[in-house]
Amino acid sequence: MHDHSESLIKELQGVARQIRLDVLDMVYRRQAGHPGGSFSCAEILAALYFHHLKIDPARPDWPERDRFLLSKGHAAAALYSVLAQRGFFPLEDLERWGHLGAHLQGHPDRVKTPGVEMSSGFLGHGLSIAVGLALAQRLGGPRYHIYALMSDGDMQSGVAWEGAMAAAKFRASEVTVIMDYNDVQLDGAAHDIMPLEPLIDKWRAFGFAVIPINGHNVRQILEALDEALEIHSMPTVILARTTKGKGVSFMENSAKWHGAVPSAAEYEQAKAELKGYPA
C-alpha cells in the first residue's frame, strides 16, 4: 500500500475540478452532453489518469499500457477533458466536441480519438471487453491491468452480468471494475427505475472482491486502486458511492441533469460553484 501525500491529493482534486469546469464549458458550448454522470466520476478519472494508470500520452498505442474502458460512454466529456489535460491531444480540441470533422464524437470513438481504448455509448459492454483483454494478455506478450468504469445503468443491462460471470469463470484478477454508483439515471432514481441492491452481495455472489468507497474521496480511490492490484485470485469491483452532478448544488442527485444543458444564469452559477469545489 502506497502512502499518498497531501500534495498528491490536492493535485488530483485540482485535476477533478478542471474536468468539471471543462465538462461544463463543453456541454454549454455544444448545447448537448451529459453533465451529471460526468461530474460523478471526475475524481475517479483524475486518480486514474494523473496517478494510477501506466500510460504514456506520447505513445497511445504503447503495448504495455494499462487499458481503461469507459463503459459509461455518456461521460465522454469527462474522459475527453482528462485525456486532453494529460496530453493525449491538444486542449483546444475540446472546443470542437461534436463539430463536423472533429475527432471528439458525442460518445467515445476509439478509431478517431487518441487515448480512447474502446468506443462506447450503449451501456453494459465494458466488463466483458475487459475479460477479453485479460484473456489476450495471458496468451503471451505485454502484461497490463484493465479498468472498466461502469455506471448503475451499465449494471442494469444483462450483458454486464454475463461479463461478470465470464470474469469469475476465468478468475480475471487483471480486471478492476470501478462502479460509479450515483443511483440516478435518465428517468429518475436507479433504486426506483430498476433497483440494483443488494449490490455488494450481488458482486460477491458473482465472484468479485468488493471494495466499497466514497467515490469523491481521492485518498480512498487511490487506496482502493492499489488494493485491487494485490488481489490475485479474482476480479475486483471498487464500488464507488458517488453523487450525480457532484460539485454543482442544483445538479446534485437530480435526474434532470443526466443530459440537460444549463441556461446562461445556471452556467455562471455552476462555474462559480465548481471553482470553489472542493473548498
Binding site: M118, S119, H125, S128, I129, G132, L135, G140, M165, A166
Partner: protein, 313 residues
C-alpha cells in the same frame, strides 16, 4: 456429394490453421460440438474459450481479445450470433472496427430438425447493413476451409455463415478464394444464375437441366456477398440480359438485394429471386427436402430462369 458436412470441413480447417497462426483464438457459446469448433478446442485448449449461453458477452470478449492483439473467431449458430449479439456486433465490432471474425453455423434451413427458431434466414441482411463488415457465404467445403486463412489474414470485421449440412462440391483444388471476388463456375449466354452458400450446387444442377432444354445458363458463385463483385455481376447482365439470384435466406436484404442494388446503379436487367419469400418456413425431415418445399428447389431455379429470360426486352 462431399462426404462430410460443411461445418466439419470448417472445424477441421480452423483447427489446422490454429497450428500455423498462434494469434488465432476461438470462442463458442456452448455449441462447439455442433459448430465443430471442438476440433480446435481439443488441439489448442489454451486458445479456446467456451462462454456458455452468453452470446452478447461472447462477442464482447472477442472484441477484448482483438483489442489485445489476437484474432478471435467467435462462433455459435448464425441466428443466435446475429440476432442476440446484433447490438454488440454493431457497436463493438463494426463501429469500433475491431478485428473480430464472426462465424455463424447452422446457416439457412440447415438445422432442419430444430425449426424456424434455429433457422438463420436474415443473417445476411443484418450483417450487410453493418458498415465495415465483410459478409461471406462459402459454397462448399473447400471454399469454407480456405476462407479460414483468408479471413484470419484480412484486417477487420468479417461475418461468415456455414451450413450444418453436407453441401455439394462445386470447386476443385484450383480454387482461389478472395474477398470481393465472385467465381464463374459455368459460362453461358442466355441467363445468369447467381448463388451463394448451399444454393450454388443447386444452381449448377439447374443449369444442367436448362441445357437439356437448349438454354445456356451462366452460373456465378458469390461467396463474397459484401463486398460484392459488382464487375462480374454487371458483365453478366450485359452479356446474358437476365439473371436469377439464389440464396437460402429471405429475399429481403440478402444476395438478391445486393445484386439488384448493383444492377440498378450500373446496368438494370430483369432479375428473378429464389429464396424465402418473407416467411419463417417450418421444421422438416431433412435439409434438402425442406429447401425443396420452401421454394429453393432446382425446379424453382429452372422456372425462375425461364421467367427471367421471358422478361428480356
Amino acid at each position: 456429394m462431399s462426404e462430410i458436412p460443411q461445418r466439419q470441413a470448417y472445424g477441421i480447417a480452423l483447427a489446422d490453421y490454429g497450428d500455423l497462426n498462434e494469434a488465432v483464438v476461438v470462442l463458442d457459446a456452448d455449441v462447439s460440438s455442433s459448430t465443430l469448433t471442438k476440433f480446435f478446442a481439443d488441439r489448442h485448449p489454451a486458445r479456446f474459450f467456451n462462454m456458455g449461453v452468453t452470446e452478447a458477452s461472447m462477442v464482447n470478449v472477442g472484441v477484448g481479445l482483438a483489442l489485445g492483439g489476437k484474432i478471435p473467431f467467435v462462433n455459435t449458430f448464425a441466428a443466435l450470433l446475429t440476432l442476440r449479439a446484433c447490438e454488440q456486433i454493431r457497436t463493438c465490432v463494426a463501429y469500433a472496427h475491431t478485428n473480430v471474425k464472426l462465424v455463424g453455423g447452422y446457416a439457412g434451413l440447415s438445422d432442419y430438425k430444430d425449426g424456424p427458431t434455429h433457422f438463420a434466414t436474415n443473417d445476411i441482411a443484418l450483417m450487410r447493413a453493418m458498415p465495415n463488415m465483410v459478409v461471406l457465404a462459402p459454397a462448399d467445403n473447400r471454399e469454407a476451409a480456405r476462407m479460414v486463412q483468408v479471413i484470419a489474414e484480412y484486417p477487420g470485421p468479417v461475418y461468415m455463415r456455414i451450413s450444418r449440412a453436407v453441401v455439394p462440391d462445386v470447386f476443385d483444388d484450383s480454387l482461389t478464394v478472395e474477398i470481393g471476388k465472385g467465381i464463374t463456375l459455368r459460362d453461358g449466354g442466355d441467363v445468369t444464375i447467381v448463388g451463394c452458400g448451399s444454393m450454388v450446387g443447386r444452381c449448377l444442377r439447374a443449369a444442367d437441366r436448362l441445357a437439356q432444354e437448349g438454354i445456356d445458363a451462366r452460373v456465378l458463385s458469390m461467396a463474397s456477398i459484401k463486398p460484392l463483385d459488382e464487375e462480374l455481376v454487371v458483365q453478366a447482365a450485359q452479356e446474358t440480359g437476365a439473371l436469377v439470384t439464389a440464396e437460402d435466406h429471405t429475399i429481403l436484404g440478402g444476395l438478391g438485394s445486393a445484386v439488384v442494388e448493383a444492377l440498378a446503379e450500373h446496368h438494370p436487367a430483369p432479375v428473378e429471386f429464389v429464396g424465402l419469400k418473407d416467411t419463417f418456413a417450418e421444421t422438416g425431415p431433412d435439409t434438402e427436402t425442406l429447401m425443396d418445399a420452401w421454394g429453393l428447389s432446382i425446379a424453382d431455379l429452372v422456372a425462375a430462369a425461364k421467367r427471367a429470360i421471358q422478361r428480356k426486352a
